[in-house]
């Protein structure tokens, strides 16, 4: 257990250091905790590092995911319908941490379930479970006192989303208080929507690098190994969410239940994406 509670910032920093050593970008994979049900979700989660995920983003299900497209909305609905809630999400992480001491886990979602859990208690429990960082979509820097500052004080990373609307004037405010890495949402839109062009990404990376030395992960709209490779040539990591979650949806039976293909279909896709990312700079 002592391993599980090494500071979250450490595990993320170590992972990016290792990627740098290997001379490649990382693959960040997103799944929603409890999708399609808690047991199947644990099977999927467990299998991700082996399939090539360098960092895992685990969605905290929420009834009103305002910044998500249909794929992740449905994942949230499936998880909630299967009885998922925050305490179970944290046990999922704990179960994973018992098996894997190195792969960083970032919880991603919306503020209300954390607020209702209680910020101090949540941070304590998340840290003890082996969570490394948080991405909370509806907490811009204007609301840093709510969660960002206490998170960083607790030794976990608070990872900020930067977007095409983050100009040079706003970026300093965005990278302040943040740690771990910076997530660049490459298109203005909901998750799963269209992707940015290579030129747009190059331009955005230039802008971001002027304001931070943190690693930069780029996501939104990455569906194929080719797209992941394109991003991996520019950024420190490529994030894939909706495509993986859609694969889960595709694997379910007519009643929406997990099948014996569910985990393998997901790992199959992750393997392809990882290949793309790993060979991008060769």
């Amino acid at each position: 257990m002592s391993d599980a509670i090494i500071g979250g910032q450490d595990r993320i920093a170590k992972r990016f250091a290792k990627l740098k050593e290997e001379g490649r970008a990382g693959l960040v994979t997103f799944i929603t905790a409890g999708d399609p049900d808690p047991e199947a979700s644990f099977e999927i989660l467990k299998s991700l590092p082996e399939a090539g995920a360098d960092i895992i983003e685990l969605g905290m299900p929420f009834t009103d995911p305002m910044a998500d497209g249909p794929a992740i909305q449905e994942a949230s609905n499936r998880a909630l319908a299967a009885g998922m809630h925050m305490r179970k999400t944290l046990s999922l992480v704990r179960g994973f941490r018992d098996l894997d001491h190195e792969t960083p886990i970032i919880l991603m979602g919306y503020y209300n379930p954390i607020y209702i859990y209680g910020v101090a208690e949540f941070l304590e429990d998340a840290r003890n479970a082996g969570v490394d960082g948080l991405i909370v979509v509806d907490l811009p820097p204007e609301e840093d006192a709510e969660l960002c500052v206490p998170t960083v004080e607790k030794g976990l990373s608070f990872i900020r989303l930067t977007t095409p609307t983050s100009d040079d004037k706003r970026l300093p405010k965005l990278v302040q208080n943040t740690s771990g890495f910076v997530y660049y949402v490459s298109v203005a839109g909901v998750t799963g929507a269209g992707s940015a062009s290579n030129d747009q990404i190059v331009e955005a990376m230039g802008r971001l690098r002027r304001h931070t030395d943190l690693p930069i992960a780029v996501g939104f709209g990455i569906k194929t190994a080719q797209q992941a490779a394109d991003v991996a040539r520019q950024a420190d990591a490529a994030v894939v969410g909706s495509a993986i979650v859609s694969k889960i949806a595709e694997s379910l039976d007519e009643n929406g239940k997990a099948t014996d293909k569910t985990a393998s279909m997901v790992t199959g896709l992750v393997r392809e994406l990882a290949n793309g990312v790993r060979n991008a700079r060769k």
Binding site: D64, M66, P113, T163, T165, G189
Partner: protein, 407 residues
């Protein structure tokens, strides 16, 4: 949290610069939207201090909306209840039949000033959707209205009106398929169309500066009513009362009276099948503070912070949250909020129609129902001033169904 007590001994000084009403309000939005709401805040500040903006606003409110609308003494209802004198502020007589247009005029003029070329909105009852579609037609801007598919079924006349006005009505099938989900979908549209789109929020909720600007645009209700009651009675009312969905007609009536100590402030929430049944929309009576749609406010939710579906016969009140200023007014005790069930509202709807020859919207029928409870207990020398927020034509199908009448 720097402003939990009002400054300047006034209840009218908030929000603070960060959009807080005490512990409520704020800006809980995705980063993509932050520059947009900051831009809006600045544009609104500029507009407020520009006499030309006020002049334009006044022009449209007078010549297009038909303001000032009357403050009407509901004589027969007063007689029937045998207590306090009851006055209705007649927002039902506005163009499009509800108070919603006051706010839409303000926001579309802002949108024009900001050079935005496309308008989006959410709607529950369809009144805000109709008002938005109306101003979009008038000012020549394309309009997309998000509406829960459940509401599309129960408010079909308004859906047709919006389409006649040239708006695109997009059904929302996610979640509970009503107002909260329409708002989610409008926010999703907005993050996708950040360059050209202005989001006209229909109630005094959402991220700062919306609760403030919607309140300011709706305050024309209370400002007029105050002048009118002084003229009619030579004094202020003992109570102001309004139905609260998101809370825009209510805050518009209340705000000008908040510093008048002798005026009691009462908001009426939709209790659906009854607060004890769990099937209701009474977020202030039965909810707790949480964060949704850009602000901290009272919400209906479970122990895990998952938002619950609201339930009300009135589509315009069928929302699991409430504007943040109402949460603050409740907590500091300046206003009280009372729940009224579907059945009570229906009875009041009939009573008002039969006694006053005014078919009220189901939303404000909730306020009438509360008056039915309270007026008889008040002396005949007391005065109640209610916001009759809209007319009930849109609700006749819902009411017919509830009464078992086939149209």
């Amino acid at each position: 949290m720097t402003s939990s007590s009002p400054t300047l001994n006034s209840y009218r000084a908030l929000p603070d610069p960060d959009g807080h009403f005490g512990n409520f309000g704020g800006r809980f939005v995705a980063e993509t939207l932050m520059p947009l709401i900051l831009e809006l805040e600045q544009a609104y500040k500029d507009a407020k201090s520009d006499p030309a903006f006020k002049k334009e606003m006044d022009y449209y409110l007078r010549h297009y909306v038909g303001r000032a609308n009357p403050l009407y003494f509901a004589e027969r209802l007063t007689e029937e209840l045998g207590g306090a004198k009851i006055y209705f502020k007649r927002e039902d007589l506005n163009h499009t039949g509800a108070h919603k247009i006051n706010n839409c005029i303000g926001q579309i003029l802002l949108a024009k000033r900001m050079g935005k070329t496309r308008i989006i909105a959410e709607t529950g009852a369809g009144q805000h959707g109709v008002a938005t579609a109306t101003v979009c037609a008038r000012f020549g801007l394309p309009c997309t209205v998000y509406m829960g598919s459940k509401d599309i079924e129960r408010q079909s006349p308004n859906v047709f009106r919006m389409r006649l006005l040239g708006a695109e009505v997009k059904p929302v099938v996610s979640g509970s398929r009503s107002l909260k989900d329409a708002m989610n979908e409008a926010l999703r549209d907005w993050v996708t169309n950040v360059e050209d789109t202005f989001y006209i929020i229909g109630t005094a909720a959402g991220p700062h500066p919306y609760p403030e600007l919607v309140r300011d645009f709706q305050s024309v209700i209370g400002n007029e009513a105050k002048e009118q009651i002084l003229e009619a009675e030579g004094r202020l009312p003992d109570q102001v009362i309004a139905a609260v969905g998101g809370g825009s007609n209510a805050i518009g009536l209340f705000h000008p009276f908040l510093d008048d100590k002798g005026v009691e402030v009462v908001g009426v929430e939709a209790a659906g099948h009854g607060v004890h049944t769990g099937k209701h929309a009474a977020s202030l009576s039965a909810g707790k503070p949480g964060v949704l749609h850009g602000n901290r406010t009272y919400l209906l939710m479970d122990d895990d912070g998952q938002i619950k579906e609201a339930d009300s016969i009135s589509a315009g009140l069928d929302y699991p949250g409430i504007g943040p200023e109402h949460s603050w007014l409740k907590d500091i005790g300046r206003a009280r909020y009372e729940p009224i069930t579907d059945t009570e509202a229906l009875d009041a709807f009939k009573l008002c129609s039969e006694l006053e020859g005014i078919i009220p919207a189901l939303e404000c029928s909730h306020a009438i129902a509360q008056i039915v409870k309270e007026a008889p207990k008040m002396g005949k020398d007391k005065i109640i001033l209610m916001c009759l927020s809209g007319r009930g034509d849109k609700d006749i199908f819902t009411v017919a169904e509830a009464l078992g009448v086939k149209l």
